[in-house]
Each structure stands twice: as C-alpha cells, then as structure tokens.
C-alpha cells in the first residue's frame, strides 16, 4: 500500500455517532411543532399571522407596565388602568384562541394530507408519541401566550411598586397560583378541541373555520336558545357555550364580578359546572384523537 497518496471514496461515510432513537425523535418532532406554528423555516407569508398574534398578546402588558412607570414618576397617586392579572386573561384568552385556531390545523393536517405520516411510521416513534408530542408543542405555545405577559406585568409592577421590588414580589404572591390555575384551565379548554377538529377536517381553512364557528356561533346559539324559555330545558343549552366556560371559571378564580351576558350565569349554572364541561370535552377529544391516530399510523 503506497503511503504517498490515497484516494478517499467520497461516496458514502457510515455514521458511527450517537443515536438518540426514540428520545431524539420525540425531541425533533416537538421542536418541529413549535417551528411550524410560528412559520419558522417556512416562507415569510406563514410568519405574519402567528407573530402578529404574539405582538397582540404582549403589547398590552408592556403598555400597562410602561404606563405604570410613567404614572409612578409623574403622578404617583393616580390609579393605574391595569385591572389586575385576572382581567388580562380576557385579552390573552381571545388572542390565544385565534392562534390555536391556526396552529392546531397546521400541526396535524399537512402531515396527514401530504402523507408524511408514513415517514413518522418508519421512525422510532409510536403513534401515541407522535400525537402526544404534537399536543405538547401546542400546549407549550398556549402556556407561553398565557404566562409571558402575566410574568412581564408581575415583575414590572413589582419593580415599580413603592414598597420595594422583593417585598412586592412576596405581597401579591397569592396571585401566582391563581394565574397558573387559570392558565391551565384556558389551555385545557381550547387545545384538545382544536386537535379534535384538526383530526376530522381535511383542510386547514375548514378546520379553523369550524373551530371558530363552534366557539363563537355555538356560544351565540346557546345564548339565543337559553332565552327561548318557552322551550323546556332550554337552560341546558348553555353548556354548548364552549367559548365562555374558561372565562366563567376565570371570573370565579379571580373573584371578578360576573358580567350579565355570561350565558352560564343567566342559565343559573355554577362555575364548577363549566370546569366539568371543559374537562369532559378535553378528555373526549383526547380519546378520539389518540384512537384515530393509532389507526392512521
């Protein structure tokens, strides 16, 4: 063997490196889920909607903090417009609803329509891994929407409060469990349903349309039916107002005054009934989605 010269076969180099198998596959799917819903590594057109919704969720928080900062320096005694962490959920609640109406279908439908599931079925992933990871990506994004603005405000106001940063942090510590609990309630109320619809519908636009339809039109219809008191048992129609259950629980958790047009209230239901409805819908949706994907993959 001449030691003066060698020709390397550039054709193919076997891979001896580390193989993460199932753990690596799940991590990759999870990261792809997050990239997909924010349009990362996709055409610019796909980035506009998601990122504008992110701005919509965070901007009011920054405005509140900014405003509070201005007030504290110029006229400390005026009360700030900030209605409290509970109130803010009205903003993030509806923004995340729109986001999820787009993100849910984006996470599930292309993989099915384009046949990419057959690639997932040849990789070290079980069907439950796949759908579980997709759900995890969605829940992560929802949690982000819910918590980031709240944390921003929590720290912002603590920094500005007259009684010093750290003591302020401790004073309204009782807000933290409420914020976390409400975030969970919102996440459980909106994520499973969109995954259910995205499993059934074959087109993204249709899935988004049906999801928003079920929430808004459903709630409107429920309100109308509840009023048609001549029909016996019409008050149970309030349970169909899926769009409002999370808000109703939020009012209860934060002890806010319940507004008059809250369907569940007019139908005379307690907040825990809403909680139950949210739980039932979430469980039923998850069971169906998992069952469906076990047959698809």
């Amino acid at each position: 063997m001449t030691d003066k010269g060698v020709v390397y076969d550039l054709g193919y180099v076997p891979y001896e490196g580390e193989r993460g198998a199932r753990r690596g596959a799940i991590a990759t799917t999870y990261r792809d889920g997050i990239f997909r819903v924010f349009g990362i590594r996709r055409r610019a057109r796909k980035k506009i909607l998601p990122w504008s919704l992110v701005v919509l969720a965070i901007l009011p928080a920054t405005v509140f903090v900014g405003f509070a900062f201005l007030l504290s320096t110029f006229s400390p005694e005026a009360d700030s417009p900030f209605g409290g962490h509970g109130e803010y959920f009205t903003i993030t609640g509806s923004v995340v609803l729109l986001f999820v109406a787009l993100a849910g279908p984006e996470l599930l439908i292309p993989d099915r329509r384009e046949g990419v599931l057959s690639i997932y079925s040849s990789r070290p992933l079980t069907p439950d891994d796949y759908i579980g990871t997709r759900a995890a990506s969605l829940l992560t994004v929802v949690a982000g929407f819910m918590l980031i603005p709240q944390v921003l405000m929590y720290i912002g106001f603590a920094a500005l409060s007259s009684s010093g940063f750290f003591s302020a942090l401790l004073d309204n510590a009782d807000e933290i469990p409420k914020i976390l609990a409400t975030s969970v309630v919102y996440a459980v109320a909106i994520a499973p349903l969109v995954l259910l619809i995205s499993t059934i519908a074959s087109r993204k636009a249709a899935a988004t349309g049906i999801y928003l339809g079920v929430l808004f039109v459903g709630t409107g219809l429920a309100a109308a039916l509840v009023e048609a008191t001549s029909v016996p048992g019409s008050r149970f129609a309030a349970l169909l107002a899926l769009g409002e259950h999370a808000d109703y629980v939020r009012d209860w958790v934060f002890g806010l005054a319940v507004s008059s047009d809250r369907v569940m209230a007019t139908a005379g239901f307690d907040p825990w009934v809403s909680l139950a409805v949210i739980a039932v819908v979430a469980v039923a949706s998850s069971i169906f989605v998992v069952w469906r994907y076990r047959r698809l993959m």
Partner: protein, 249 residues
C-alpha cells in the same frame, strides 16, 4: 341526443354525492328554521313581513348564490382538475352539446336544491298563515336566480381553481355592496332578477312590501325571464367557444 343526456345525468351524479346532498339539504332548511325561530321570539310582527325579511335578506342574496356557486363552479372545474376533460371532449359530439349538457346538469342540481329551500320556506309560512299563494312565485324566483348564477359560475369554474373564492367576492362585493349603491347595475345582479320574478308572480301587495326591503329596484316578470334566458344563452355560447378555441390541458 343520448350523449347529451348521459353527460347531464353523469354531471348530476358528480355534483350531488350523498354527502353533498345531506349537507345542502340541511343548509336549505336553515332559512325555514330561522323563520320558525323568529316566530317564537318576534311573535308580534306580521307573518308576511317576517317571510319577506327572510326572502329579501337571506334566501336570495345569500343562500341561492352560495349553493349555486359551490355546485356550478365544480361542474367544469372538477373535470379540468381530475383530468377527465379529455374523456369528455375527445368525443364525436359538437362542443355546443357538451356545453349545454354540462350547464343543464349544473342548473338541475342548483335549482333543485334552491327550490327545495323555497318550498321549505313557503311551507313554514303556509302552515302558520294558511296562505299558500307564495309557493310558486318563490320557487320560480329561486329557479331563475339559480339559472343566472349558474350561467356565471359554470364558465368561471373552468377558468380558475379558486372559482368559489372569486364567486364569493362577486356576490358579497359586487352584488350586495356595489349594486345596492349604484342601482343602475341592478339588472346585472342575478338575485335581483330572481326577486323580480318572485315579485312579478306574487300578489301586488307583496311587491309594495318588498320595495321597503333594501330598495332593490325590481323589474317586471317578463324582463326577468328575458334576462335569464339571454344570460343563460350567452353563458352556453361562451363555454362552447372556450371548448373550441382554448387549450384543454
């Protein structure tokens, strides 16, 4: 012409799968459903006003165009997309016969569905008030509007895959916004032609009532009939020209 009838029936089967039939069937019942709901809540208003509100605000400007649009746009659109156009065109049949049969199939399905909607609506009204004199006018009005809409949307389906989108833009922007602003164009608005046919056949006081709704300047029944036939003929001629001259990939 056995071939013509074969194209028409096959088109009907294509446009009206079981799923679509159920979907559209239910959709067509919606106006009647809303009418019943209204009688529950707005009991005090006269039944005729409620019906005419439905007819002028929902049935003609919304239901007839959208149902016809979805059906008619896929009459030729599906053939082009599924690549079956060559199956249809490479036949010893004059292009005009193909155009006519395709148009016929689309109209039969669209008008059929819309007539079903009209019957449901006028039946709900008939049950409540006992007067059935509006059944024929609404059925004929619905049919006319379907024919005119089909005349626009069948060729449109051939030219663009986004025919439904373009159609919706036409219905909501041109018809409902522009025309109601510039009344002169109303003779071009398919649903107004349908409504003219309806008011033309309906008892005179109905025409007076309708004049309050949306100020649509309606023509006589004869004009509506003439316009419907003219637009349909033009549409079939246009489709025939397209089948003769254009590349049919």
């Amino acid at each position: 012409m056995r071939a013509a009838w074969a194209i028409t029936t096959t088109t009907i089967r294509q446009l009206l799968g079981v799923r679509r039939l159920i979907l559209f069937g239910l959709a067509e019942l919606a106006p009647a459903g809303v009418l019943l709901l209204m009688t529950q809540t707005l009991a005090e208003e006269a039944a005729l006003d409620r019906l005419l509100a439905m007819v002028a605000a929902l049935y003609f400007p919304l239901f007839v165009p959208i149902v016809t649009l979805i059906v008619a746009a896929s009459a030729l659109g599906d053939e082009r997309r599924d690549g079956t156009l060559s199956f249809l065109v490479l036949r010893p049949i004059p292009r005009s016969v193909i155009a006519l049969s395709k148009f016929g199939g689309a109209v039969i399905v669209a008008a059929g569905l819309n007539i079903f909607g009209a019957l449901a609506l006028t039946a709900a009204y008939g049950i409540e008030t006992g007067s059935w004199n509006l059944v024929v006018p609404l059925v004929v009005g619905g049919a006319f509007a379907s024919i005119v809409y089909a005349s626009l949307f069948v060729p449109l389906g051939f030219f663009t895959d986004r025919a439904v989108l373009v159609g919706l833009v036409f219905v909501f922007i041109f018809e409902n916004a522009v025309v109601s602003a510039l009344n002169g164009l109303s003779s071009l608005s398919p649903w107004r032609i349908g409504m003219s046919a309806f008011t033309g056949l309906a008892p005179t006081e109905v025409a007076a009532e309708l004049s309050e709704f949306g100020g649509a300047s309606l023509s006589s029944f004869g004009t509506a009939l003439f316009r419907t036939v003219l637009i349909a003929a033009l549409s079939i001629a246009a489709t025939t020209m397209v089948l003769r001259r254009r590349d049919l990939t």
